[in-house]
């Protein structure tokens, strides 16, 4: 079984935010509007965390794209009372939307705060709904959602490989963020395979993970900036 994982090279990332928007478009994530955004209810599966160190003009600004870390020991799945979120065989922390009762325990349990909640029924003005991605479920009100590593693409890649009677290749399956990144800062692949690109990058001395001290064993690694 593959273990899907991601490496984000912060030395390549310029913080342009294309991954964030690509993710929103690919996954039909609701646009919540001006007022709800002001209430802090903007829904982002991929987010960019910006930090500032120092004082002008000696300021170090860091941009850190943050998807779901798809932990090997995810705190969110352990608190779900209905099994709506679980770690699947391939290492993806998946969501079963119809099973979610909207208790939001998982949202609280996640130390990385990647989970987001549908406070309202998603709306698309006019005919914009026509442009939704038909591969991805639109989540109704009262359901928690988060980054799925674009699991619908995995499904598709597997079906395609099956039709062509071959094994799934590393490059067959790439999430939207990694695919669109203009600077190719995001790499994605099978971390279980020691020869894959992500496994090699993980062995890079610059590699680090966030939240390892919590014992969650994230599968998203970062390569630190070269100072």
């Amino acid at each position: 079984m593959p273990k899907w994982g991601m490496i984000i090279d912060l030395n390549k990332c310029t913080g342009c935010g294309d991954c964030v928007t690509a993710c929103k478009v690919e996954n039909n994530i609701a646009v919540v509007g001006q007022e709800e955004s002001a209430n802090g209810r903007t829904m982002l599966w991929m987010d960019i965390i910006t930090t500032y160190e120092g004082e002008f003009p000696n300021v170090k600004v860091r941009h850190m794209p943050r998807p779901c870390f798809h932990c090997e020991h995810p705190p969110c799945t352990k608190v779900c009372p209905v099994g709506a979120t679980y770690l699947n065989d391939e290492g993806i922390v998946a969501q079963i939307y119809p099973q979610c009762i909207g208790c939001r325990y998982c949202q609280v349990a996640c130390p990385i705060t990647v989970k987001t909640f549908n406070w309202y029924t998603p709306e698309w003005p006019g005919r914009m709904a026509e442009a939704c991605n038909p591969d991805v479920a639109v989540r109704p009100m009262g359901v928690v959602e988060k980054c799925t590593f674009c699991i619908h693409r995995l499904q598709k890649a597997k079906e395609q490989a099956a039709v062509e009677k071959r094994e799934l290749r590393d490059e067959d399956y790439v999430p939207a963020c990694a695919e669109s990144c203009p600077t190719r800062a995001i790499s994605f692949g099978d971390m279980g395979n020691p020869t894959s690109k992500v496994s090699q990058l993980k062995r890079n001395p610059r590699a680090f993970a966030v939240g390892e001290d919590l014992g969650i064993e994230p599968k998203v690694y970062y390569l630190s900036e070269v100072e």
């Binding site: 390549k12 955004s37 002001a38 038909p134 109704p140 598709k156 203009p182």
Partner: protein, 824 residues
């Protein structure tokens, strides 16, 4: 669209049934909105892809659009388009929202209410076009064709050529483009003697010094520059280049650089010349280039025997580091260090942009910065700088002009009427006044130009537009300027039309990308090009014979035939093939062969465009078109221009000082013709305002072009977590002095007005300055609520003293914590 939980489960049933029926490639738990389910029914959900070009901003990124049953659902970068190589920006991702936006103008509209009332009536295309033709014909009958004006934006597509053909044949000198590239065009006029643009190769440089260019967020090609910045810091051969950024604000471009040097607003020229001083003192400049290919570096004598001090003399005397340090706020040791890094670099490149040219001394500043490239000897073969090549399009057939047109064209255009500037062709400063006074316009066409929203002097443009008797707009959406229109002839959005976008600034290979409709037009809209051709045909005479095409697509194909016939370059091809192609080309192989033009055009549509990856070696001896045919440290062109002002103003020629004073140039005598630091002018409301306003652009909504996409607005300030909202950046120190805390509503006041906006305390802002992003400040069509604020409304009409180009950093403001009422 409402989806209840029950509906959701129902949809789930439908969709899983669909999967069972043999549809490939979907998640077992997908569901789609009702309308789409209805449309696709049990259809096979066939996926297809089409290539095109994004036109939301002028940087012309190639895109490929994913269509499901003919409906576009996703826009990705075209991986074989060499302009953006697979990349896209956040605004580009949201493009489909523009297509399906309910606020689109769906058919031609005629104004029925008073101007600004926003009351419209549907008219037919024939009626609308006929009413325009009648008016245009009567202008020609009265022999007043110059009273027609045409304003557009974005110069790098072929539509501007068609518009120019039309206005010229008609006889109007008033075709004006609100184009960001105007700034760069005049800078090269001084240094190179023509308006061809420079292009840069970043492949082998080991040092990049960027004076103020916010290339990662604002134009000319942000996606490309994000890639370039990432590439030169992560070269596979380990030879990383250093990037030094010089600016008054730590923009995202600055934070992605290795080193940042903060300068006081408007003083970059002094810093550049300070660096030149150190280079000259160290003797670290390219002797050979200076001796052979430059003019005015050493002391020299004119033909009349008058002797002049050279650039070297002048820089040694005026710009020693200690003096520059006082002007710029950069320490003397930092200046020396910067210069030593520049001289130590094997291949260094100096760029300027953004704030460097946005001050009242902008042209002198760009020129001073360019001098560093000259000292480094970058204007020669095998250097990182070359002239931007253009694709060899077929020339448009020669324009035919009758007597009326010739007379009309001989008149002074609206922008040239500005007598207070040396080079006024691209000046917008005089347009509003010219319309109100000397040069009344009777018919104005607006194609994508929205000066009421994004030009300096909003009040002037508002007044001018309200005085023009007849305005025709080609917008797809309602905006601030077409609210004044009498007729709106809605354009398609970019996903529905043909266009060719070419020659993106700063790119060192010839290229063009083909925009094609990925979907049939959703509404009763037409391409402005088609409408212009139709109008010309109806006017008849030489106007009609100058625009003989059946439609805009035929015009495009006619132009592209030039490339087909020369046989140069090739359609975009897969990455990696490049080296192989080069190998073949060098050995004289014809790489692509087409039996006819139709076949060539089909391949262009499929691949997304054409490029010439084999640039010819630049012969820099032919590049300089200055009077001396060399790089001029003493600009004879500028001298000539100012002399001509002396003549027109009938001032005795010794009294150049009077002319310089009129042009607001402070440098005495001959110094005016040498790059120098002019003290920038700021409007501080007679001492009432103490903080510099430094507005900036964001990649999520460059110049407000993302305002028709809800997602682009939601993502507006994703890095500062201000979604759907503007903010004010202020240094914590300055904020403390003013009693402002994080998140406070702040009232910002300038001589032009005031606005209220939330404060963000960020260390990226220089003390004594505040920054507000451009882009928002519109009424949201859906909710009629104002989204954010528009800093243009604060900007005072200050212009570059030589060019009349808007000076965006010359306004000072005061800030004060807003009281409760103002905050609402």
């Amino acid at each position: 669209m409402e989806i209840s939980r029950r509906d959701f489960l129902r949809l789930l049933g439908i969709s899983t049934a669909g999967v069972a029926a043999g549809s490939v490639g979907c998640n077992t738990i997908w569901s789609v909105p009702d309308e789409v389910v209805e449309k696709i029914g049990g259809a096979p959900r066939r996926e297809s892809w089409k290539t095109s070009v994004c036109s939301l901003c002028p940087s012309g990124c190639g895109i490929k659009v994913r269509l499901i049953d003919g409906i576009p659902v996703r826009i990705l970068g075209n991986s074989i388009n060499p302009v953006n190589r697979n990349g896209l920006c956040p605004m580009g991702e949201t493009g489909i929202e523009a297509l399906f936006n309910p606020n689109r103008i769906k058919h031609p509209l005629k104004r029925v209410g008073s101007r600004g009332e926003n009351k419209w009536e549907k008219v037919s295309w024939d009626e609308a076009i006929q009413s325009i033709v009648t008016r245009l014909q009567s202008l020609r009958e009265k022999s007043e064709p110059h009273k027609m004006a045409f304003w557009s934006s974005q110069g790098n597509n072929l539509q501007s050529g068609l518009i120019e053909q039309f206005t010229t044949a008609f006889g109007s000198p008033n075709f004006f483009q609100f184009d960001d590239n105007n700034v760069a065009k005049l800078a090269t006029r001084i240094t190179l003697g023509h308006e061809k643009q420079l292009a840069y190769n970043f492949e082998n440089i080991d040092l990049l010094i960027n004076f103020g260019g916010d290339f990662l967020d604002a134009g000319p090609a942000p996606v490309r520059f994000n890639q370039i910045y990432a590439e030169i810091r992560n070269r596979e051969n380990g030879q990383q280049a250093k990037i030094i950024h010089i600016d008054s604000r730590l923009s995202r471009t600055a934070t992605n650089s290795d080193e940042f040097i903060a300068v006081k607003p408007g003083t970059m020229a002094a810093l550049a010349l300070g660096v030149a001083n150190v280079l000259i003192n160290d003797g670290q400049y390219d002797d050979e280039f200076i001796a052979k290919n430059s003019f005015g570096f050493f002391d020299w004598q004119s033909k009349e025997g008058k002797s002049f001090n050279g650039f070297k003399h002048f820089i040694e005397r005026e710009y020693y580091p200690e003096k520059v340090a006082k002007i710029t706020g950069v320490t003397a040791s930092q200046i020396v260090d910067l210069a030593r890094k520049l001289s130590a670099a094997k291949s260094a490149l100096v760029l300027s942009g953004g704030q460097a040219s946005a001050s009242t001394n902008g042209l002198y500043t760009s020129w001073a910065i360019e001098c560093l490239n000259a000292l480094k000897g970058n204007f020669k073969e095998n250097s990182p700088i070359s002239l931007a090549p253009h694709p060899p399009f077929a020339e448009i057939q020669e324009v035919q002009m009758d007597g009326i047109a010739t007379k009309g064209l001989a008149r002074t255009g609206l922008s040239q009427a500005a007598g207070d500037f040396c080079f006024a062709e691209y000046s917008v400063s005089n347009i509003p006044d010219a319309i109100s006074q000397q040069n009344p316009v009777e018919i104005l066409f607006l194609a994508n130009a929205n000066p009421v929203f994004n030009a300096i002097n909003q009040a002037g443009f508002t007044k001018a537009l309200s005085e023009i008797p007849f305005i025709v707009s080609f917008s797809s959406f309602m905006d601030e300027s077409n609210a004044f229109a009498d007729l709106i002839l809605p354009d398609h959005v970019y996903l529905e039309k043909h266009e060719i976008v070419h020659s993106i600034p700063m790119i060192d290979f010839a290229h063009f990308s083909v925009q094609q409709p990925v979907i049939e037009p959703l509404f009763d809209t037409r391409h402005p090009g088609d409408v212009i051709i139709q109008i010309a045909q109806k006017i008849g005479g030489t106007v009609a014979s100058s625009l003989p095409w059946v439609g805009y697509k035929e015009y495009l194909q006619d132009r592209v035939k030039g490339i087909y016939e020369t046989g140069t370059g090739l359609p975009f091809s897969e990455e990696g093939d490049e080296k192989w192609l080069k190998y073949l080309k060098e050995r004289g192989w014809q790489i692509f062969e087409f039996t006819n033009f139709k076949e060539f055009w089909q391949v262009l549509l499929e691949k997304g465009g054409w490029w010439d990856p084999f640039p010819q070696q630049m012969d820099f001896n032919n590049v300089f078109a200055t009077p001396s045919r060399k790089f001029e440290f003493f600009s004879q062109l500028l001298e000539k221009e100012i002399q001509s002002h002396v003549q027109t103003d009938a001032i005795s020629s010794d009294n150049i000082a009077a002319v310089l004073a009129k042009l607001k140039i402070a440098a005495p005598g001959d110094m005016a013709f040498i790059p120098h630091y002019e003290i920038p002018h700021f409007d501080d409301g007679d001492g009432r305002f103490d903080l510099h306003l430094l507005p900036f652009n964001l990649i999520t909504n460059v110049n407000g072009m993302g305002n028709n996409m809800p997602l682009a607005q939601e993502m507006f300030g994703m890095l500062t977590r201000e979604y759907w909202n503007s903010w004010l950046e202020i240094n914590p120190e300055t904020a403390h002095e003013k009693g402002i805390s994080e998140g406070d509503f702040v009232k910002v006041t300038s001589s032009r007005g005031s606005l209220t906006v939330r404060a963000k305390l960020l260390p990226t802002t220089m003390p004594g300055t505040i920054c507000i992003p451009f882009g928002l400040g519109r009424i949201n069509g859906a909710t009629s609520k104002r989204v954010g604020v528009n800093p243009y409304s604060l900007l005072v009409e200050k212009y570059d003293h030589l060019r009349g180009i808007p000076s965006l950093i010359s306004t000072k403001v005061s800030v004060k914590k807003a009281n409760g009422r103002e905050a609402v």
